[in-house]
Amino acid sequence: MDRPLLSVEDLVVHFPTDGGVVEAVSGVSCDVRRGETVAVVGESGCGKSVTALSLLGLVPPPGRVVHGAIRLGDESLLDATPERLREIRGDEVAMIFQEPMTSLNPVFKVGDQIEEVLETHRSTSGEAARAEVIRLLSMVGIADPVGRIDEYPHQLSGGMRQRVMIAMALACGPKLLVADEPTTALDVTVQAQVLELLRRLQRTLGTAVLLITHDLGVVAEMAHRVVVMYAGRVAERGTAEAIFARPRHPYTAGLFRSLPRLGSDEPLRPIEGSVPDAQRFPPGCRFHPRCPYALPVCRERVPELSPRTPKTADDGDESEPHVSACFYVDEHPDVDLFAFEKPGAP
């Protein structure tokens, strides 16, 4: 098997604050291979955005990566000079953000903003760049790109702006696109269009996508593989099929249970409690105060990510074992976490 495009190993990010050090990300590992979509899922404040930002060295100060390794191909991004990082950004790894309304600079025409990226990384300018911008705009499905190129961001709708952002991000043909909640701020209909666009572009351009989201619907539509994060740690990791078919962590199961299901009269069961304060994470498994399956050991020790046996043939593939960090599942490998009542009290 060839090396993954991006590999993150044991990433730890600290934010020193007046109230002590906040560990936003504690030991996250994940890989992204060429041309695949990996979704990072979790509630607000679970460290998924910080993980994404740390890839490009964009963790806002005073936060910093204190441990771990991030490798893009053979290059270590944590050791890269600021100048080299700047070259990588927008060229080899690009990023799109949650708020299309404010992610474009209000004083520049959209065409000029895309052109600037080309100029920065490819030294293309003038007529050639303009032609390329028009090609990019039509690629992201903007009708009348020749007319839109000279418009200002405020003249475009939210969906269009996100398309322009995508065009900017893909201008230099990056190997990896980091999409931080790209559809959260959009209307549902526009959301579907943008997701469809991302999927189509990924198929045609072969760009790998690291998708940060809290929306399991988006994950189901887009992701090949999924990383579920809770309170700065990876709770579960595996192929989308495996995780959707048979979640192996109570938190993942809880996320699914809190989604409405078509044709079901069952009341929604949100996960009890709320995300712990990052300054006072509970000891042991950080999910235990909210976990219906919590064992005494969960309070004391941190569970390791352990491989789970696939139940069916297509559940998980060789190169990507389905792993989760849960003592209860360690003891009861075949438990059906969808059932709310736990079988046999501990």
Binding site: L58, G90, S103, M168
Partner: protein, 419 residues
């Protein structure tokens, strides 16, 4: 459904209306009557400054005393005896070259907007013809291209010659500027004259014509205002941008420096600096105002940068690998510049006032026509015409810039914007 509907509505309202931020601001500016009047007044002041020699000079535009037609005014524009100061040389160059840039401007506009193309081209061509005729008609006096640094040895006193010839009953054919006095002509016999037909605003202690000094004074005031403000806006923007964007140690150092600067009472600082410099010129005054007044702009820009560096578009620019210098000056600065424009407009008025005050206190540049200096003479002599004219001139210019500044502030404030 609802979401889709609102999106359509959004598209209708914001739609394809081609209006940039600048256009929106200009539209807002035009809504306020006082601002429009103020802008016209500034335009008038600029025209007055550029075309001052055509309004007030003792050299005729056309002169024919029987030995052929000449145009003495134009070579006089670059005669160091009449116009010694670089401010005058600069404005005179603007005056001579004005047909050229009118032509260029019209051609450029004609090329941009096709439908005005024809008319603009005609006007442009006319301007070029004007320039060509001008350089052809007066080659004798104009000579080879005038060297502004060349010091001519003498000036023919055309006004006096004209008066003498008229007295002898043989009036020359001559077109003089509206007012036949330059601002540097001294005449000890006519010192401190009250307003009369020849001197509508009277004369000062050295017999210089006050009206001419008022007219040429606009040049000094506008230059002082614009250059001093340009200096301090440049300093303030760079320091404020660095402090706001980078934060941390850089911010602390710059902010403390700003605080130290603010602690000095600025007018006394300016006064002290101006008094210390030997051989003061008007440019020293500009530089002094510039280096002492940048703190306000720096704080404003710093605050704007603190806000804008956190906004998504800045993060997006960083994530796309745009170089930092470009992010600061190309991405954030245009977004942060609006409040600076407002302060700069008010600043022009303030700088004009400071220069007038310095001249009033007798530590200005004596080689230029400063309103403050005339005011000072009026105070010393106790003559009202030496006080009223410069007083009104200062009042008018300062008011006009303040009106425009206020209009600009309202136009840039989205909260006051009526849709």
């Amino acid at each position: 459904m609802i979401a889709g509907g609102s999106d359509v509505e959004f598209a209708v309202t914001e739609g394809r209306e081609q209006s940039s931020y600048t256009e929106v601001v200009l539209r807002e500016l035009r809504k306020s009557r006082t601002t429009v009047v103020g802008l016209w007044c500034i335009a008038l002041l600029v025209l007055l400054a550029v075309y001052a020699p055509l309004l007030s000079l003792d050299q005729p535009i056309l002169w024919d005393a029987g030995r052929g037609v000449s145009m003495p005014l134009f070579p006089a524009l670059f005669n160091r005896l009449l116009f010694e100061n670089s401010i005058d040389v600069f404005f005179n160059l603007l005056l001579v070259l004005s047909p050229l840039y009118v032509a260029v401007g019209l051609f450029v506009r004609g090329a941009r907007a096709r439908r005005f193309g024809g008319r603009a081209k005609v006007l442009g061509a006319l301007s070029l013809v004007h320039l060509a005729v001008f350089s052809a008609v007066a080659p004798e006096q104009f000579g080879p291209l005038p060297n502004p640094l060349h010091r001519s040895s003498h000036v023919v006193a055309y006004r006096i010659r004209a008066d003498e010839l008229a007295a002898a009953g043989q009036a020359p054919r001559a077109i003089f500027p509206l007012h036949r006095y330059g601002y540097r002509e001294t005449n000890p016999e006519e010192s401190v004259q009250p307003p009369s037909r020849r001197h509508p605003f009277g004369t000062d202690t050295e017999g210089r014509d006050v009206l001419a000094r008022m007219i040429y004074g606009t040049r000094v005031s506008l230059t002082i205002g614009v250059i001093a403000v340009a200096i301090y806006v440049a300093i303030g923007v760079v320091l404020g941008a660095l402090a706001g964007y980078f934060g941390g140690l850089i911010d602390s150092v710059i902010s403390r420096f700003i605080e130290v600067m603010i602690c000095f009472p600025s007018f006394f600082l300016i006064l002290t600096l101006a008094a210390v410099i030997e051989k003061r010129s008007i440019f020293h005054v500009m530089a002094i105002i510039g280096v002492t007044s940048w703190t306000g702009v720096a704080r404003l820009v710093r605050a704007e940068f603190l806000k804008h560096r956190e906004l998504e578009y800045t993060q997006a620019a960083v994530a796309l690998g745009i170089p930092t210098r470009r992010i600061i000056f190309r991405h954030i600065l245009p977004n942060a510049i609006a409040p600076v424009l407002v302060t700069a407009t008010f600043g022009i008025a303030a700088a004009i006032l400071v220069e007038s005050s310095l001249s009033f206190l007798g530590i200005g540049d004596l080689s230029v026509a400063s309103w403050g200096e005339t005011l000072n003479t009026g105070r010393a002599e106790g003559k009202p015409w030496l006080i009223i004219a410069p007083g009104l001139a200062i009042f008018f210019v300062v008011t006009v810039f303040n009106l425009v500044g206020e209009g600009l502030r309202d136009a840039l404030d989205p909260k006051l914007r009526s849709r």
